[in-house]
Subunit: 284 residues, 2 copies
């Protein structure tokens, strides 16, 4: 496991990178280096005491035992292509990207053999971007998913478990890249596509005063970071399109029940959805 | 306006009828009669002091200045056909049904001319059914919608306003039957169809441990009262099917942007949904 005084570099001090720095410093890590092209973000992290060293330059990554990329997927891959020579032999590299197969496959084609990459996904994103929204407190109700390959060492896996525990994540689990991307397609990406599309179905702004909880709940995530999500959708395109298509089939089935006055059919659908949804209540 | 000692009968002591009795008794109404075929519900309302008189028989409606139906739409219409002779000449009749055009049209074909029906929709439903879930406290964040026709008197409209104020509703507004049903189709019925269909798209119960807020928010209303909603959907079928179809068109458009890697198109959709959704935040 990485010692608490080992040099750890965090690439990108946005909402997640900032939260990582906050969580790790609070957990007693004392040699944290934050790197971001945005000078203001670096200053904020330093002022808050979340990092001991800050830089706008990739050079600062030198001599790190662990590098954590909190960059968007394509920026992460580009950064790595340009800067992998700066990584320490025998060091660990991890990330936070929300899709796994494509990112992992691409990195494995070019990564130095003396650096071990272990993919992770802390499921603690939010709609707002930037270090101003960093909040490590959110980790205590979030899942931390480790997505190892057969090449990953026990040391790397144990280090990720210990890191997630130190950051106070609620649950830590292991998934294969395929399982992870299937899960994220259905639970997260499909829901965002639905919320955005519902909001865009018609000009509904005159209905604001009549809106109740159900519409607000269904569209909360229609406030969405347009810089990040299209990329995530494309990197998981095969599964996501399958899920959208399955959802449209199911929705059309229900539509046809309405059209044909199939009350019994609708009731069965509602009984099934009620039963299933109960399992997802937080208290379970 | 109805005096606070005037006899008011509430038909149906379910979640809404129970809440009405609770709210009106708390507001100082002293001559409330609750009618329900479920003897237990009547007993509970009496024990709670929400009504002064209770009955399982329609006969109890006699001599009321105001009758409030808190029954499901078809039960309300059937009840009225059978029992309208029991209504007091010159009295008012109102309801709480969630769709308006069809119910109002049908009632106007047969209702006695010496009773005035004024349609209302308190937007304070919830997924649970029965008097045990009655909670008038929910009215303070809910909309009360009055849906008058040209035949309705100022007296009837004023009485409904005063009733809604006494029950502490957050907002009181007037809509035509068409405006109401359009609004309810998009904001409420379409959202329920989406939630149920998302929950039924595949067997997702193994994903419970990975579920975050977005999926929970989108499917909360997939726990649904299967006795009531199919009827409401059918009574608003024309608008609801239009809305489902428009939503599928919009969703398919987004799907095709993913399939064709149209990042710029997705961004524009997300910027639009973000802008619109901000208007719906509760603080506005």
């Amino acid at each position: 496991m990485t010692a608490k005084d080992a040099r750890i570099s965090i690439l990108g001090l946005g909402v997640l990178g900032g939260s990582y720095a906050q969580a790790l410093s609070a957990a007693g890590y004392t040699n944290l280096c934050g790197i971001d092209i945005n000078e203001e973000y670096v200053s904020i992290a330093l002022e808050q005491g979340w990092i001991q060293e800050g830089s706008v330059s990739a050079e600062a990554v030198a001599d790190s035992e662990l590098v954590i990329s909190c960059l968007y997927p394509s920026i992460f891959v580009d950064w790595l292509k340009t800067n992998q020579d700066r990584l320490t032999p025998g060091s660990l590299l991890t990330d936070v990207t929300g899709v796994k197969r494509s990112v992992m496959d691409e990195i494995h084609t070019f990564l130095r053999k003396d650096v071990e990459y272990i993919a992770c996904h802390p499921m603690a994103g939010r709609e707002s971007k930037g270090i101003h929204y960093a909040d490590a407190g959110r980790f205590s109700s979030a899942n931390f998913i480790i997505v190892p390959t057969e090449e990953n060492t026990e040391y790397a896996k144990d280090t990720m478990i210990s890191l997630a525990k130190d950051m106070n994540f609620a649950n830590i689990s292991f998934l294969s890249p395929e399982e992870h991307d299937r899960m994220i397609s259905y639970l997260s990406q499909l829901t965002h596509v639905i919320a955005v599309s519902l909001m865009n179905t018609n000009d509904n702004t005159h209905l604001v005063k009549y809106t109740g909880d159900s519409f607000r709940d269904l569209t909360r995530i229609a406030k969405i970071n347009e810089e990040m999500w299209p990329e995530l959708f494309l990197l998981n395109r095969d599964y996501l399109i399958q899920d959208i298509d399955s959802f449209i089939v199911e929705l059309s089935r229900f539509r046809d029940m309405i059209a044909s006055s199939d009350v019994e059919g609708m009731k069965q659908k509602m009984i099934q959805s009620t039963e299933r949804r109960k399992l997802f209540d937080v208290e379970n």
